[in-house]
Amino acid sequence: MSARVLVVGELRDGHLADPTLESVGSALALAGGPEGVVGFLAGASARSAASEYGRYGVADVRVAESGSFDSVPPAFLAPVVVATASETRSDTIVVGGTTFGRDLTGRVAARWNAAAANGVTEVRLTGEGFLVRRPVFGGRATETLRLEGPRRVLSLRPHSFSAPEEKPTEVRVTPAAAPEPAPGLLGPKRVAVAPIASGAGPGLTDAAIVVSGGRGLRAPENFHLVEELAQALGAAVGASRAVTDAGWRPPSFQVGQTGKTVSPQLYIAVGISGAIQHIVGMVSSRVIVAINSDATAPIFKVADYGLVGDLFEIVPALTAEVRRVRGL
């Protein structure tokens, strides 16, 4: 049993984004080899990046090479993706579970009459059918779904799948079938893009490591301790609501029930007590480290490793040690 998979790629700085490489990895497994996988890319630099699919053995690449795809709503891309899936006789569309991918999945599924799932962490094609597993309830539980019917669309949770081994091949780049967009889709305009303050924003939901700071830091001018540790680790920076409510950092940094849900490989909570509303946003992280002076703080119940002590002593020492072992 194998699928024919269309991978919808995403570009970052003109190259295939990591979530796209993870999608290729999962697609190769589902299709049982590169013959059953087609790569897709849209945007101004689509053609120049197309050859990167070839590194992983994917030879058939379809490109919608137009700068307009960089600044139109995600809805605009769905018709092109669906037309390409039909043209390449794909039965499965896989995309990285970024904001781009998560927005695309539902739109494409509705257009293609397909079953769909976002934020998938495991995919299996077995006698039981096409099964996907995904975290629900902010990572407090997982569900396994069977996607029935002849077509499905998945977005994959970042860091849950491995990038494939390199197996270079020549790529054949073909322009994608581009149906005329409905006039109603042409009105919206992206008028500006500004980089988000260091580490926060979607970088936060994407990151392999997150370091979050709480009220234990006492004042905004101490928050740099968290940021320096994050920088040494190559991590994104998060915060508890106590911090964002006090305006030490903007709301986009907030992790928790009313903020972002993160599930990195490593989550370090610095001076955070571990209120349930914070916990639900980070409990599905693979490894949790807590640094807190109160040995009875609830954060230690969900953490894997705890350091009981003064963060003002521990965090700078930790930053120095990380820098030392990483040769920074």
Binding site: T105, E143, G184, K189, V191, P195, I209, K260, D304
Partner: protein, 260 residues
């Protein structure tokens, strides 16, 4: 502006989750349901727009079983929505986000809808599929991860921000659009008692539910699993901060294997 806001009941965030007897979904027995958090943001956003644009109306629409779905519609009316429409799902129906989008689209099509607001995902299944699918089914653009939605009367356009990997994007869009709201950045209001009492008397319109054709690819829940409870942190013993740092880094590299 004619605003439609889609609302969904989800278990209270503090609920102790358990698998249902058949192991496929979670147990709804004795669970208290509330308006989903992101939907609260969407309702708040709808009401803010209504208050700033004379002659606007907000219509709450929901798909789901009795009694919880009716209850979140009542809660939305109590917050200030003007009307409500309910597509009642049979109680044994298993959740399927695409089927939800089809049901909502059927209810919304006959209503005036300049703007359809949703939460970006619900706090239970977190599918994040309904709003984009709704955009497609209604034939209008959709935007996810939106904050800070405003109406610019001069240009007759909505302006808003989206947080994406590209950064913070600013957009302008003519109506109609479907918008899925990001987090509770707008500090949703709570309902006052007189409004709650008044909302009980507002009639809720009903739209009949019809099952989706099977070729549309249903999504069937197979297993619902809870992780083994975390047993509490292994506390790292140390005498100096330097030793604490050294020990933790060694653990993260050698034992937890999470260190780059």
């Amino acid at each position: 502006m004619e605003i439609v806001v889609c609302v969904k009941p989800v278990p209270e965030p503090e609920t102790r989750l358990r698998a249902a007897a058949d192991g496929r979904t979670y147990d709804t027995e004795a669970v208290k349901f509330v308006l989903a958090g992101y939907d609260e943001s969407a309702v708040e956003q709808a009401l803010l727009l209504k208050e700033s644009i004379p002659g606007s109306k907000v219509h709450a629409v929901a798909f789901g079983p009795s009694p919880r779905t009716e209850e979140v519609l009542r809660a939305s009316l109590a917050l200030g929505c003007d009307q409500a429409t309910w597509v009642e799902a049979p109680s044994e129906l298993r959740p399927d986000p695409l089927a939800t989008a089809h049901a909502l689209a059927r209810a919304i099509r006959p209503l005036p809808h300049d703007l359809v607001l949703c939460g970006k995902q619900a706090g239970d299944d977190e599918s994040g599929l309904v709003a984009p699918a709704l955009g497609e089914l209604l034939g209008v653009p959709d935007f996810g991860f939106v904050v800070d939605l405003r109406w610019d009367a001069g240009s007759s356009r909505l302006t808003f921000r989206r947080e994406t990997e590209a950064g913070e994007e600013r957009w302008e869009a003519p109506l109609p659009v479907v918008v899925a709201m990001q987090q509770a950045w707008n500090d949703p209001r709570t309902a006052k008692l007189p409004a709650i009492l008044k909302s009980r008397k507002v009639p809720i319109a009903k739209v009949a539910w019809t099952p989706l054709p099977a070729e549309l690819g249903p999504t069937v829940p197979v297993r619902f699993e809870l992780p083994p409870p975390r047993t509490g942190a292994k506390i790292v013993e140390y005498k100096t901060p330097g030793e604490a740092a050294e020990k933790l880094v060694r653990i993260l590299r050698e034992e937890a294997k999470v260190f780059p």
